[in-house]
Amino acid sequence: MSNDRAHADHTHEHPTWKQYKWVALWLFVITVIEVWAYYIPSFVASKAFVPALLIMSAVKFTVVVMFYMHLKYDHQIFRRLFGGPLLIAGATVVAFLFLFGKL
C-alpha cells in the first residue's frame, strides 16, 4: 500500500445498469430457490440442506457486496476494512457454535 494516491477513487470503473439488473435477477432467483428448498421435506431432512442454504446465502451476500456496494471496483483499502472484520466475525461465530456444541 505504498503510495496509494495513484488510484484515487474517481478513476475506477463502475458497474453498469445492465449489471445491476442481472444482479437483481440473480438475487431473486436464488431467493426463490432457497424458499422452494425449504418446502421440500426430503431435502430439508437431507444432509445437504444446511450447506446448500448457507452457500446460496453466501453467494447473495457476496454479490450484493461486490456489485451493489461496488467493492469489486473500489479501492483495496475498503476491501480490507470490510474483509478483515468479516473474517474475524465469521470465525468467531463458528467458534461459538463449536463451543456451545452446535457443530
Binding site: D4, R5, H7, A8, D9, H14, P15, W17, Y20, K21, V23, A24, L27, F28, T31, E34, V35, A37, Y38, Y39, V44, F49, V50, L53, L54, M56, S57, K60, F61, V64, V65, F67, Y68, M69, H75, I77, F78, L81, F82, G84, P85, L86, I88, A89, G90, T92, V93, F96, L97, F100, K102
Partner: protein, 222 residues
C-alpha cells in the same frame, strides 16, 4: 452507533484539503463502521443460534408446541410472509443503486425521465424499506398474538432482539433516505452529492446483506 457514522457529514470539506489516498474521509469511516457492524450482528446472530432449541417453554420457531396447560401453539415463523418482505428488501437494494447512478449521472444522456430520476428511485427505496418495516411490524404483532413476546422464552428474547436491531437499522436507513429525498426535492441532487448518496447506499446495502444472512440462518434453517 449510527451517530458515529453520520457525524461525518459536513465534517470536512476534503476536496479542499490534502488527503493521502485521495479517498474521502467519510467513505473510509463508513467502511470501518460497516466492518464494526459485522461484529455486532455476528454477536446477535450467534446468540440466536446458540439459544436455538434451548428454550424451556414454547412457542418455538419451527415446531408446534402444546403448553403444559393444554394450549396449542403453532410454529411461529411464517415463511411466505417473510419471503415476501425479504424480496422487497432485496429489490430496495436495486432501487438504491439506481438512485445512486441517477445522482452520479444527472443530466447525462440515458438518465432522463422517470427511470433516470434520483427522486423516483430514492422514494422507491424508502418505500421498499418502509414496506419491509411494515411487514416486520405485522410479523411482530402476529407473534405476540400467537403468544410470543420478548419475555416469553429464550427464542423470543433472542429473536426479537436480533430482528429488532436489524429493523432499527432499517428504520434509520429509511429516515436517512427520506432526508436525502427531501434535499433532492428542495434543491436537486447532482454529481457533487454522489458521495453522500454513495455512503448512504453502502449503509443501506449492508443492512440488506445482514438480512440475507438472517433470513437463511433464522428463518430457513430449522
Amino acid at each position: 452507533m449510527s451517530t458515529a457514522a453520520t457525524a461525518g457529514a459536513h465534517e470536512a470539506h476534503e476536496h479542499t484539503h490534502y488527503t493521502t489516498t485521495g479517498l474521502h474521509h467519510r467513505k473510509i469511516a463508513m467502511w470501518a463502521f460497516i466492518g464494526s457492524e459485522c461484529m455486532l450482528f455476528g454477536s446477535l446472530i450467534t446468540t440466536y443460534l446458540v439459544y436455538k432449541g434451548r428454550s424451556v417453554a414454547g412457542p418455538f420457531p419451527h415446531e408446534a408446541w402444546t403448553s403444559p396447560d393444554g394450549k396449542a401453539f403453532p410454529a411461529i415463523l411464517d415463511i411466505p410472509v417473510t419471503s415476501a418482505s425479504t424480496f422487497v428488501l432485496l429489490m430496495s437494494s436495486l432501487f438504491m443503486v439506481l438512485a445512486l447512478a441517477a445522482v452520479e449521472n444527472k443530466g447525462k444522456p440515458g438518465y432522463e425521465g422517470r427511470l433516470g430520476s434520483s427522486k423516483f428511485w430514492l422514494a422507491a427505496t424508502a418505500a421498499a424499506g418502509a414496506t419491509f418495516l411494515g411487514f416486520q411490524a405485522f410479523e411482530f404483532t402476529s407473534f405476540v398474538h400467537h403468544g410470543l413476546t420478548i419475555k416469553t422464552n429464550l427464542f423470543g428474547s433472542s429473536f426479537f432482539t436480533l430482528t429488532g436491531f436489524h429493523g432499527a437499522h432499517v428504520a434509520v436507513g429509511v429516515l436517512w433516505l427520506m432526508t436525502m429525498l427531501f434535499i433532492d426535492i428542495k434543491r436537486g441532487l447532482g454529481p457533487k452529492d454522489a458521495l453522500n448518496v454513495d455512503i448512504m447506499a453502502l449503509y443501506w446495502h449492508f443492512v440488506d446483506v445482514v438480512w440475507i444472512a438472517i433470513f437463511t440462518l433464522v428463518y430457513l434453517i430449522k
